[in-house]
Symmetry: C2
Subunit: 248 residues, 2 copies
Amino acid sequence: MSSTGPACLSSTVALANGTTEVECRHCGLDPICMVLDYAAPGSGITEALLSRRVAVSKGSALFFEGGDCEAIFAVKSGSFKASVSDPMGDERVVGFYLPGELIGVDAIAGQHYHYTLRALESSQVCDLRLSRLADSGKPMQDIQHAMIEILGKTVEASYLSSAALMQQNAEQRLCAFLLTLSERLHRLGFDRDYLRLAMSRSDIASYLGLSRETVSRLFSRLEKDRLISMTGRRLRLLDRHGLSQLQG
Amino acid sequence: MSSTGPACLSSTVALANGTTEVECRHCGLDPICMVLDYAAPGSGITEALLSRRVAVSKGSALFFEGGDCEAIFAVKSGSFKASVSDPMGDERVVGFYLPGELIGVDAIAGQHYHYTLRALESSQVCDLRLSRLADSGKPMQDIQHAMIEILGKTVEASYLSSAALMQQNAEQRLCAFLLTLSERLHRLGFDRDYLRLAMSRSDIASYLGLSRETVSRLFSRLEKDRLISMTGRRLRLLDRHGLSQLQG
DNA sequence: CGAGAGATTGATACCAATCAAAGGATGTGG
DNA sequence: CCACATCCTTTGATTGGTATCAATCTCTCG
């Protein structure tokens, strides 16, 4: 998920391969990493506790639904989708993760992951072994405080995201999805109006509880109405205000 | 929300007025209250930090959408609904709370409540002033640990509740709602199969993103199909298995 | 008892799913 | 580098589920 327009990446760093990675100060793990002194060489923080910039290739899974929760992750670059398999055996997408965002916080309490997590593109994550936090040598007080900050923000974010989508029609949901994505990318310093969707139409449809065909038709309609323009997975928002009107 | 059938209230205590209250050990605040020694007389915990069994009359609000978060609450008896007012000015129900459940955890990080909270019936809550926790005289370590436990469970619970409802049709959503309610009441020691709904059909409809009429029709259909029987707001689940089949 | 809110039921309209087919994109092996 | 297979996407025709409009009925409470 990288910008397609005039880049203005105040909180990201361009990499050689054309992708960008989020800076630590804009990452959801930052509260912990600050306590850990960013695991600087000589800090005494070993890879067994915090692995940074672990490469994950497109399509491969970081963990599976039901598996033991050994670590939580922060997206450093690239993007991920979370999915569960429903009773009929097909996949339902339950979330997307962009750089800077935390993955697996919901599994901390129960010690099991609730979904399977796959990279939508070639990506990098930081990987924090919670069970070893206590051995880090850092003050327990500070570690706990950082965890409280992370958990508190997660509770708030998950409340906000779930409350909205339920009572909306297809068009409202798609507009909300696009605007949310745009805001999340903007926080990373990308241009609000130029997005590259790393996920397929089917993934979007599944996430929003719609059919592929409906999503496709809605994109066509939004384009006809000059609210967006798109070619393939490259998307430009032409009228943010118009979109937020539709959003409800 | 009290049982209407043969009561078997292993974790609740019957009160003089016919309602029941949840025991502390089954309450979401218990991790904190344990640290605070249940605010027993002589424990040094004042009412300024933790008020127990605060009465709330039917229809009155504990707090309003957007208001400063001064405390989190646990339902001791009765029940509550959380709602937000949407752009068009009408109310959308975003949650229901039963005895033992925590309210306002999502407001801790941002210091503002995200919804208005009203009692569905004459109720009681315990009220915890977070800002005064540090002054309780109890070890900070223990307090932080309790907060982490509470937040972690909340993250997990809010994930689980949001993931499901999105891609389901009206019947599936209503069945899921009824079965979830039944389980929540069962955890309190009530009979799984006899429920008294404290909320109106409109509240249920709003919460599930359906119209009043659809909810009413669905109840009629479930009754015709011998899956439930109901008179007014008294509901009996006749075929839990059949309902969970429908649930998807 | 009467008033007003809540709940049910029916008729109709509309939105989105499904079925169906064809048009692009992507990747692989020859 | 091209041919082919496969997956993804778009568009059309039809069906079905749910909202909406409208009328009646029920319950609660003053």
